[in-house]
């Protein structure tokens, strides 16, 4: 099990706001998923989005991508990078995203 997979299982999924997680490598290959989500499909999407947003930031001189949040009325997803892996975390849309992002930052920087 990769380090991010262990982190996801041990800590991230335990947050009450989290409804699903998907861990992939940079190529989008599924490594781990929890919750009611099609891990393979969404994992590939996370990898593609992260790569495109990463190129955006580089072109603009903003540095490396740390995370991206995608929010809508029914779904909120945070895509975060950790070493060579990418985690997509689906969060209850009724909960505060900002507060959760702070908690997540603490976990990922341990």
């Amino acid at each position: 099990m990769t380090s991010l997979s262990k982190l996801a299982k041990a800590q991230i999924t335990r947050f009450p706001e989290v409804v699903a997680t998907v861990v992939t490598d940079r190529a989008g290959t599924l490594l781990e998923s929890t919750g009611d989500v099609d891990g393979e499909t969404v994992g590939a999407v996370h990898a593609v989005s992260a790569e495109a947003l990463g190129r955006t930031g580089e072109a603009l001189g903003l540095g490396g991508l740390q995370r991206a949040s995608v929010s809508g009325p029914k779904k909120v997803c945070i895509i975060a990078t950790y070493d060579e892996e990418i985690v997509g975390i689906y969060v209850d849309p009724t909960k505060s995203l900002g507060a959760f992002e702070k908690k997540l930052e603490g976990v990922l920087r341990q």
Binding site: E51, G57, G64
Partner: protein, 272 residues
Amino acid sequence: MFERILLGLHEVEGVQATIVIDGAGKILASQAHAVYDLPLLQQVSRTIVSAVDSVQLVQEDWELVTATYSDGKVLIRNLRPSRPQGRAVVLAVIADSRLNTPFAGVAIRVAASKLKAELDSPSASGMVAAIPNQPPSVSTSAYSPPVNGRSPTGSTRLAPSSATPPLPIPPPRPELAASGLSWSGLSKSLNVSTSGVSVVDDAASRYLTACTKALSASVGPMAKVFVKEAVRRVCTDRPFSREDAAALVAELLPHIGSASDREDFNRALRSA
């Protein structure tokens, strides 16, 4: 009208550029500091559309994408025209690390509702339906650090003239040095991708960091990009060393508009 709406977003501290992009990656309107020239904004528009196209696959009703980088943020708002024949349109806001995200969120919602109204108006239908990549009439100004939270911007309007071909994406550059050392920027961060320049030792890396910090006082977050480009011009295929400092400074000075800023830049590097 688009430009006036986008100008309102620049009242928020930290906002560096705003772009309205259609589903094909074409720029409908933009307001940006001069360091963000049209080719760069066009390149970025295409990568933004690429990202939101993939997001759309799994989240059709997405409203906002917020990408957080080590030195800034990009916020992408789905404008979603209500007309049946309307194409997907997004508003992208590029900001540095000073951005107050909650404030920006409010300003973006206000701008988005105004832009949606403009897009839904009959006069906008021709603009959204068929926009060639046209050389705009760009008014540019040298980058000035913001005063009282406001910064000068240049606006881009699509002028009715001949279409220009799409810009090629530059090929990836070699990253590894003979020394195995590379410099990729100011801060250590969890990078999705890095495109560093090669350096011979830690002293060279520290010098590049000092150069970027000194240059950013004049040109903002683009400093890192300018430094990397300058190193590649000075050193081509060999790693950067401290001996290349004078040549590097000569490459960077033209980016600085005012004589006093150039003096400050030189002074900052004397102690580096």
